[in-house]
Symmetry: C2
DNA sequence: TTGCTAATTAGCAATTGATGCAGATAAGGT
DNA sequence: ACCTTATCTGCATCAATTGCTAATTAGCAA
């Protein structure tokens, strides 16, 4: 996702308006690698701007996703997560704490057993234990 | 997932009862590669046994999943899908018709960029166009 | 600066997928 | 055949998300 300043220009030239709510969300998402949900982002936004609506958060996230500035991912936590990192990467989900990490794979896995399918995209979800959670288990 | 007969034995020896509803679901799921949702399975069941409750379908699916007889997968269609194929495989989702196909990958993709994470499982979701949908697009 | 117009916000209703609950029912061992 | 206990059904509930609308505001133009 681009910087708040670049997004401001991009939104205006797309006929969209740049409101204080959106500027705040731009800032909260920029360089955010926590893969937040709409709800967690709303909590963070509320701390800075009390009264901001969850509906507005959803709306802005949808707009950003449509512009290709962020991608939404599904890792089985029940709610969508948003990732401002739109480079080609995958995700590792810790079964202990639920945290999601970005991962990069050396090469696209070759598939077998499917003759008649043209693949346009592949997304891998790894599950396991993160370092912190492994340490916790070990001491128990 | 094992055959309806084997499941009957397995359920009884686990202290679970084998009802007509469950027997029907065993049959509907056996060798079913359509990756049904709870709802679509309920529709199929209703055709044979009018009045069967959606709640019962969910309950039985949960039981089967807990016994390791089927796995639930998330492919971004909004609802959980159930797969009686519990071998180590992945899925290809057609963006045209939404159908889900089983796929097998030659070797587990190696990951990079994550030092401190022990992977216990990896699941790949491929997206693209199935043969039928590619053909449709070509003729348009 | 002021005004105009269309986009946006907030709040609430509605929707969807899934689960919790309880009384009536039925499986299956004895 | 009986009795205990799991199961079934129907309904209420829940959580995540989207639809809807009146009031507000961004941003262009005069």
């Amino acid at each position: 996702m681009r910087s708040p300043e670049e997004l401001t220009v991009a939104f205006r030239s797309a006929g969209l308006k740049v409101t204080p709510q959106r500027q705040l969300l731009f800032r909260l998402l920029h360089d955010n690698s926590s893969h937040p949900t709409a709800d967690s982002l709303h909590s963070a936004a509320t701390a800075v701007m009390p009264g901001i609506s969850l509906r507005t958060v959803y709306q802005t996230l949808t707009d950003l996703a449509e512009m290709g500035e962020l991608q939404s991912i599904e890792v089985g936590s029940g709610s969508l997560r948003f990732d401002p990192n739109v480079s080609d990467h995958h995700h590792a989900v810790c079964d202990g704490c639920g945290d999601v990490h970005d991962v990069y794979v050396s090469k696209a896995p070759v598939l077998r057993g499917l003759d008649d399918f043209s693949v346009s995209d592949a997304h891998i979800v790894y599950r396991g234990q993160c370092g912190a959670c492994s340490a916790l288990v070990a001491t128990k």
